[in-house]
């Protein structure tokens, strides 16, 4: 029997097979294109999230820098009572958000306090993509910007030459002289002009005055850092006085005839002590006349108590580039009855030498030799009832074992009176004399060479001083004026 296969449905089956296969291919292509599009979107979101996280870091750096003395400004990862926690915000005009917080250690559960370095942790989030970065913020030194700064008053009567920027919170008096500033002149929060002088960096007007810390506030920070606990506001200077390093002060040995230069460190304790009222002073009227110097005229020691003991420092030449200038200090002698040697700290934490008065003028001079080659040195000039705000001066002989290093010497004057600086010696480092409005004046006259920076409430310049602001002025222990990125940019999570 002949049987015929049924062929009904063959077209349908073929059509369905064709449709299914084609659909699968198209579905694959569709999935492929969608995944590509999703990937492209994710890439842009990852990038945008990182930009938001960095916006958070910069937001917080600016937030803290707006008033570095206001500890409540910081958005803390581990806030103490009354402090703010992490901040959440956004960049105006952008979708997405960021959050940011500071800490000194993400694991210790304690809040961050100025002036320590900080860790900033910021998270950016957009379209469900989150990225977190952590980086280290650090103080920018009060000596980071200006060769000299007169906060409330600046009078230039002499022929000042400054290599570096000059700034002020107030108009300046420029008495028709030939002031030359090789850098910008910056008026912060004030009008004024600099028409009679030369400013190679132009004259600029910033909208806000700089809110400089007082020496007392700087002392609070230093005392807190050194003591390991936050001292009560306004007590830092007293803490430094009570915990000073004056016991380190030395004098030349009278038993080592081979000494010919200060770096040999053949020194003995000067035995300096506070007076009966607990005050420290260097000067003629305090009778510190028993220190012995070194007579190198014939390379022999002066006998103890000999008059006019000497220490000779060989001639040295310094070359500055902008403006091109060579400064040569000839052989100089420390002479007089007193030669005090202030050793530098062998660690990165400076020695803090504290005095209630420094008065180096007069016929019986006290010479100062600062051993900043060994390490950093701070000198604090405090206030006491015995000495009040009387004028101090450092017009005696100052010598530095490393005069080209501007990071290892700082001079803080907490008095409201006048601080007089003249002579012709090289002075490296930072001088800070600001104690509130109208409190703290530096008289700069003669022809001293300052390889560093001067910040004072009032600066009066006469004579022909030369200030060279070195690029490496900032020191690790300087007090901060604002905070900026330091290093250690790390992505903590994301991608």
């Amino acid at each position: 029997m002949l049987r015929h296969r049924a062929h009904f449905g063959g077209v349908l089956v073929s059509t369905l097979v064709f449709v299914v296969i084609t659909s699968l291919i198209l579905a694959g292509i569709g999935t492929y294109t969608i995944s590509h599009f999703s990937r492209a979107s994710a890439e842009s979101d990852y990038s945008a999230a990182m930009n938001l996280a960095e916006a958070g870091v910069n937001y917080e750096l600016r937030n803290i820098s707006e008033d570095i003395l206001d500890s409540s400004r910081a958005n803390q990862m581990h806030p103490a009572n009354g402090q703010s926690g992490p901040y959440s915000g956004s960049v105006s005009g952008l979708s997405g958000t960021f959050s940011v917080a500071v800490t000194n250690n993400p694991d210790n559960g304690k809040p961050w306090y100025a002036p320590s370095n900080m860790l900033l942790t910021a998270t950016g989030t957009i379209n469900g993509v989150t990225r977190t970065v952590r980086c280290q913020g650090a103080r920018r030194s009060i000596f980071d910007n200006y060769s000299f700064y007169g906060v409330d008053s600046t009078t230039i009567n002499g022929n000042l030459v400054a290599d570096g920027s000059f700034g002020t919170n107030s108009p300046i008096t420029l008495d028709g002289t030939s002031a030359e500033v090789y850098g910008p002149v910056v008026f912060n929060g004030t009008s004024g002009s600099f028409n009679a002088g030369q400013a190679t960096g132009g004259v600029w007007y910033q909208p806000d005055k700089i809110d400089w810390p007082t020496v007392s506030q700087i002392a609070d920070a230093v005392a807190s850092q050194k003591s390991g606990t936050r001292v009560t506001t306004g007590t830092g200077l007293a803490w430094i006085k009570a915990h000073n390093d004056n016991a380190q002060i030395m004098q030349f040995s009278t038993t080592d005839p081979s000494i010919s230069n200060p770096t040999q460190h053949s020194w003995v304790s000067a035995g300096l002590s506070a007076d009966s009222s607990g005050n420290w002073a260097i000067g003629d009227k305090d009778g510190l006349s028993t220190f012995k110097g070194l007579n190198t005229d014939n390379n022999t020691m002066d006998a103890a108590g000999a008059s006019n003991p000497r220490y000779d420092q060989p001639a040295v030449t310094y070359t500055f580039t902008n403006p091109s200038r060579t400064v040569t200090q000839g052989e100089q002698s420390l002479y007089g009855d007193n030669v005090l040697i202030l050793p530098g700290s062998p660690t990165s934490t400076p020695y803090n030498y504290y005095f209630d008065e420094i008065n180096l003028s007069g016929t019986t001079k006290t010479a100062i030799l600062v051993d900043n080659a060994t390490g950093p040195v701070n000198i604090w000039l405090g206030t006491s009832a015995a000495y009040g705000s009387s004028q101090d001066n450092i017009n005696g002989e100052w010598f530095f074992t490393k005069p080209g290093d501007s990071t290892t010497f700082r001079f803080y004057d907490a008095k409201s009176g006048t601080f007089d600086m003249q002579g012709s010696s090289m002075f490296p480092g930072g001088i800070y004399v600001y104690n509130g409005s109208g409190k703290g004046t530096v008289n700069l006259h003669g022809n001293p060479v300052l390889n560093g920076s001067i910040i004072a409430d009032s600066v009066t310049v006469s004579g022909t001083p030369f200030i060279n602001y070195p690029l490496d002025m900032q020191a690790a222990n300087d007090y901060s004026l604002w905070y900026g990125f330091l290093n250690q940019w790390t992505e903590v999570s994301g991608m």
């Binding site: 449709v19 198209l26 599009f37 905070y483």
Partner: protein, 157 residues
């Protein structure tokens, strides 16, 4: 002998079968065309997104490279072709992407001659917007295909 006659089965397809198959084919072809169109547009969108991301990121990195101090205040506009090349400050016939970079500071300082620069303590907002000048894929002309930005501050990251 009577022979029973059975209707002979005929080879071939029925009219109904052809009709159903045609219907299925028509519907599926429509879907396929739609799918192809979607994929084609999606590829175009991906392409434009990728190029927009590249030129936008480049613009932001350039602002960062100039830094807080020297990034120009105000708005600047650049144009690119469909590959992200042919950068121009004016729109060209082959321009496809428009990159607008806006830098604004919340505080400004001025020079004695009146020039404005960001104040030392300013917070600067940078917004980069990449827009299409022509339709790419299914994305119509004028659409902002990529937007990013950040804050800049003195000595910041």
């Amino acid at each position: 002998m009577n022979r029973t006659r059975h209707p002979r089965r005929r080879r071939g397809v029925t009219y109904i079968e052809v009709l159903v198959a045609s219907l299925i084919l028509a519907v599926s072809l429509c879907a396929m065309a739609s799918m192809w169109y979607f994929s084609f547009n999606m590829s175009g969108n991906t392409d434009s997104k990728g190029v927009a991301y590249a030129v936008g990121r480049h613009a932001l990195e350039e602002v960062k490279q100039n830094g807080f101090r020297y990034a120009a205040e105000g708005t600047t506009t650049l144009y690119y072709d469909n590959t992200g090349g042919s950068e121009s400050t004016t729109q060209q016939s082959n321009s496809v992407y428009q990159v607008t970079v806006s830098v604004t500071s919340d505080k400004l300082s001025t020079s004695q001659s009146g020039q404005s620069v960001p104040a030392d303590d300013a917070l600067r907002t940078v917004i980069v917007t990449v827009s299409l000048l022509t339709q790419e894929g299914s994305t119509p002309s004028g659409t902002a295909v990529y937007t990013t930005g950040t804050y800049l501050t003195r000595s910041g990251v």
